[in-house]
Amino acid sequence: MTNSARKILVVDDDGLVRENVVLFCERLGFDVTSCATVASAMGHASTGEFGVVLADCFLPDGNGIKILEEMSLSHPDMSIVMMTGFPSIEAVIRSLRLGAVDYVIKPFNLYELKTILERAAQKHTYALSAREALRLAETAGSGANGPITQDVDKRRSQIAETEFASSGVRY
């Protein structure tokens, strides 16, 4: 995995939850940064150094989904996991449409969280690989239907297949 895949931003205004999640993520080998507000999270996440963001939905200065909304546009390779103790069907559907890689409902068990975060990190790595393959094809100056682009499409498909096969999780 690339370094960014092991860099995680944890966003939660509940100090106890945040501290526990930070400790747990560190035990998983993540390089962890944490904060408690949307504004602070935006500041950290916009640097682009994080592969994974775990964000609570209800934060003192706004809805955590705003982080997902903005980062899915500016940093589409970032894997964003939403979490909340007060889930609603509307919020889950909105998260799905914005590209959240998962949605965790509190209280959660740590085994579940481990699986979710490892899968999120893996997805970030695959996204970077696909982007790099595309960049190489574009650098080679091939046309949209050229052999290199076709090869990239094939590799993207292979990456998608590998991603599923290696997730090893059935919910």
Partner: protein, 127 residues
């Protein structure tokens, strides 16, 4: 011509969607359960799957997971009359493209499917 597989155990829904999307020039296949849907996918090219959740046998979320495993680039859109947080979270984890609740506005549904149809210049999000 886009090809859509509609999976729903309600005949009225299947007929409604078949008539509407055929009228838009799409190629439509219909299945009343997941087993039949899998059989269709194994025998003809399908660009996108639109599936109900609650059906006899394998449900729509299990079908979505099967499609993700065997046809990872084929988008799956869930449509359900019984939305729940649990099934919507499962939908995220199965990497479905969208989760739509019944009753739906068919023109809105058309726009959603068209926007996410593979090969379009501006497709929806890639998960």
């Amino acid at each position: 011509m886009p090809s859509l597989l509609v999976v729903d155990d309600e005949l009225l829904i299947r007929d409604l969607l078949y008539d509407f999307f055929t009228g838009q020039g799409w190629t439509i296949a219909v299945a009343e359960n997941s087993d039949k849907a899998i059989s269709i996918m194994e025998n003809k090219p399908i660009d996108m799957v639109l599936t109900d959740i609650k059906m006899p046998g394998m449900d729509g979320l299990e079908l979505a997971a099967w499609v993700r495993e065997h046809y990872p680039t084929t988008p799956v859109v869930i449509v359900t009359g019984y939305p729940s947080v649990e099934s919507a979270v499962s939908a995220i984890r199965s990497k479905v493209t969208d989760y739509i609740t019944k009753p739906f506005n068919i023109n809105q549904l058309y726009k959603t499917l068209e926007a996410n149809m593979p090969g379009r210049k501006e497709t929806g999000k890639q998960k």
